[in-house]
């Protein structure tokens, strides 16, 4: 496979598409599928056959605003229809070439205007199971350019220049990590992709793997070339069966096209990828735990150093990045590091995909430039809190993150800014809470999660989270005391400083951040035995005495 051959394929795809007058793209992401997108696609196919019009019905990955699903976009006019079901299929097909169906038209201009799509540039435009669709949108050009025109060091330099930082949560500079693995001694090196999106409330990685699997593969292959690896693993959650099957298909197609395997692009570069299934353990998001799981063992973390970059999978130098990080690689190689560095804020470059969920009007996936104000994401892109309720807080970073209150809505979204207010960027879950959510209850929910997910290797995490849960449960059912609150704070500090891995060290964050911004709610629970949001079941005094 050469760049000329890629262009040939792209040409034949556009010739094939030119045979059709209209393209009807149906979103087949999990959210739309659960509302009957499959039946809708069949109905559209039947209707277009009957009408005799030349229509290409294409199934695509996530288009973004899941709350408006099932979504259909008609090209070339780019008309977006929302809440479509199979009974609308005929009307849509009839309207092709004329005026769009007004009742179904979706007015989300504000929602889309603020977004910049890099990672999700193909989502909603390609059929994820067709490699040619991806190639037609400049797919694998980055890989072949890197292989034929750039040195491995040149690739690393470009990634460093772009300022890309790890999208998994920590925000470690990607170029620096690649450089370390490249410099590590050893013939055998591995490239691993972390697709174990354990953070509940986040689904960006699932959407990328399901909607644009080749992007991840291309990113991994470029990484492998840069660091000198010949073998890769994608570690995917078993809870994402569609992602697994799409990735399997994508890997097979890439091998057939000669984009994986031996002598890729007629160069001496060999690389292949295998899929490894996760089995439901949040701690496997931690890098050393993930590698243990890939090796078929219990996913318990170990002390670092040595870092995986030096001694990872089977003791070999291993590059480990998140799905979204790899998804950013191909566009950076294609367009240059400066192009990427021009987006975003000073120390956080590029864009970030967020999964907007909870008490918000437009739930779904959004991709915004770094540095955008939190308020813009919630109020403009997300459409605010529905049902006349008032916004209370937004939770970022999952169980390792914190709750950001309404007063802080004017901060720009970046790694450093979020860290400063006691949360983290995390993998990109953004859960909006309104006045019907009790912050103490939310803190208890996260601690319960960390308690059950703790692997049990180190005492601070294993015993500490259990004690925190006891204290928080007491506060939630109205039997807590002010001493409990002090104990809770000191316990948080201890766990933060002494736990072995990221899970334990960040587990107190939800408690600390809610204590910082919503202390009055804790006190209300303790002193007045009352839950302001009406969520917690308070025990009566009689029950307590008994």
């Amino acid at each position: 496979m050469t760049i000329e051959e890629l262009e040939q394929i792209a040409k034949s795809v556009s010739q094939e598409n030119a045979k059709y007058d209209f393209e009807v793209n149906v979103c087949m992401d999990l959210a739309c599928m659960s509302q009957g997108a499959d039946r809708l696609r069949e109905a559209l196919e039947r209707a277009s056959e009957i009408s005799g019009k030349k229509v290409l019905i294409r199934r695509t990955g996530c288009m973004g605003p899941c709350s408006s699903g099932p979504l259909v976009r008609v090209d070339p006019d780019e008309t977006l229809y929302h809440h479509v079901n199979e009974s609308h299929a005929e009307a849509i097909v009839t309207s092709l070439g004329g005026e769009p169906v007004p009742a179904l038209q979706c007015d989300l201009n504000e929602h889309f205007d603020k977004q910049v799509r890099v990672v999700l540039e193909n989502a909603g435009h390609i059929d994820p199971e067709k490699i040619d669709d991806y190639i037609a949108r400049d797919g694998y050009k980055g890989l072949l350019t890197a292989l034929t025109e750039m040195t491995p060091n040149g690739v690393i330099h470009r990634i460093t220049e772009s300022g890309l930082r790890g999208r998994g949560g920590g925000g470690y500079p990607t170029g620096l990590k690649w450089g370390t693995v490249a410099k590590a001694a050893g013939d055998l090196k591995y490239v691993v992709c972390n697709g174990d999106e354990g953070d509940p409330g986040a689904f960006m990685d699932r959407s990328v793997m399901e909607g644009d699997p080749h992007r991840v593969i291309e990113g991994m292959a470029i990484a492998a070339y840069a660091v000198g690896a010949s073998k890769g693993y994608i570690y995917v959650r078993a809870e994402y069966p569609v992602a697994v099957s799409r990735l399997t298909t994508a890997l097979r197609d890439a091998r057939r096209r000669g984009l994986l395997g031996n002598n890729i692009g007629n160069t001496p570069f060999n690389f292949d990828i295998e899929i490894r299934l996760g089995a439901g353990a949040f701690v496997c998001g931690e890098e050393t735990a993930l590698l243990a799981s890939v090796e078929g063992r219990r996913g318990t973390p170990r002390t670092r150093p040595p870092y995986p970059a030096v001694s990872g999978l089977w003791g070999k130098p291993t590059l480990l990045n998140n799905v979204e990080t790899y998804a950013n690689i191909a566009p950076i190689v294609r367009n240059g590091g400066k192009w990427f560095a021009n987006m975003g804020s000073e120390r956080s470059k590029g864009t970030k995909v967020f999964a907007l969920t909870g008490k918000i009007t437009n739930t779904g996936l959004v991709e915004v430039p770094m540095g955008i104000k939190l308020r813009e994401i919630i109020d403009v892109i997300g459409g605010g809190v529905p049902g006349g309720h008032t916004f209370k807080a937004v939770q970022t970073g999952g169980p390792s993150g914190g709750c950001i209150p309404a007063e802080m809505m004017d901060i720009g979204v970046s790694y450093d800014a979020l860290l400063k207010v006691g949360s983290i960027m995390g993998s990109g879950g953004m859960i909006v809470m309104d006045d019907t959510s009790c912050m103490v209850n939310v803190a208890r929910f996260f601690i319960e999660f960390c308690m059950t997910e703790s692997c049990g290797k180190c005492v601070p995490c294993r015993a500490g989270t259990a004690q925190m849960h006891t204290l928080l449960s007491r506060i939630c059912d109205g039997t807590g005391t002010m001493q409990d609150l002090d104990l809770l704070v000191s316990l948080c500090e201890t766990i933060k400083e002494t736990a072995l891995c990221g899970l334990g060290q960040t587990a107190p964050n939800p408690v600390l951040s809610t204590l910082k911004y919503f202390r009055d709610e804790y006190i209300e629970h303790i002193v007045n035995k009352r839950c302001p949001a009406g969520v917690c079941d308070m025990k009566s005094r009689l029950e307590v005495l008994a």
Binding site: S34, P200, G201, R276, F282, R297, G299, T357, S437
Partner: protein
């Protein structure tokens, strides 16, 4: 002294190779064709130890759960200590040691679903079925499970009816589904 140490190492290595070469995987536990699928996964991975989780996934997908026999068979075939295999099975939430019911209702209790009241859905189902989460009714018809997050957060709260995602679930829908399964 070094020479003899080297000789000893070589001898041990030689013996080890003999042991490895002599290893033949144990016979399939029964005529059940599903064991062939399990064996296929192991063969594909060259009976390597690191294929343990992959193989357990295959067992669970064809048998529905992992019992003592299957764990023992997999451990012996991959030459993994039984303790380690059992350790892996119990470490990961996805693996189940109990057979599932005829139907499975799963409630997602990820953050987004929790904020939107999935806890109430679990409670309603628990009350209706008279079991707690993670259990199966005595007649073996319905299992009630909870999931950490299925990634359909934008449609929270989410329930899975025999694995099929249905979003914005209500308590009425949950009960209606349970009633239907109870008689099916």
């Amino acid at each position: 002294m070094w020479n003899s140490a080297r000789q000893l190492t070589r001898c041990v290595l030689f013996r080890w190779e003999r042991i490895v070469a002599a290893f033949t995987p144990p016979p399939l536990p029964s005529d059940d064709k599903r064991w062939k699928i399990v064996n296929g996964t192991m063969r594909k991975n060259g009976f390597a130890r690191h294929a343990l989780i992959e193989t357990l996934h295959t067992v669970q997908s064809v048998f529905g759960y992992l019992d003592d026999d299957s764990i023992r068979f997999v451990a012996n075939s991959l030459r993994v200590p039984l303790s380690q295999a059992y350790g892996v099975v119990t470490f990961y939430h996805y693996f189940s040691l109990k057979p599932p019911g005829k139907h499975t209702a799963t409630v997602c209790i990820g953050t987004a679903c929790y904020i939107k009241g999935s806890e109430k859905l679990v409670e309603v189902a628990e009350k209706r079925l008279g079991i707690s989460r993670g259990q199966t009714t005595n007649d073996g018809r319905i299992s009630l499970m909870t999931a950490r997050c299925v990634g359909a957060c934008s449609r929270a709260p989410v329930i899975l009816r025999d694995g099929e995602v249905s979003g914005e679930a209500t308590q009425e829908q949950m009960l209606e589904q349970l009633e239907r399964w109870a008689v099916e």
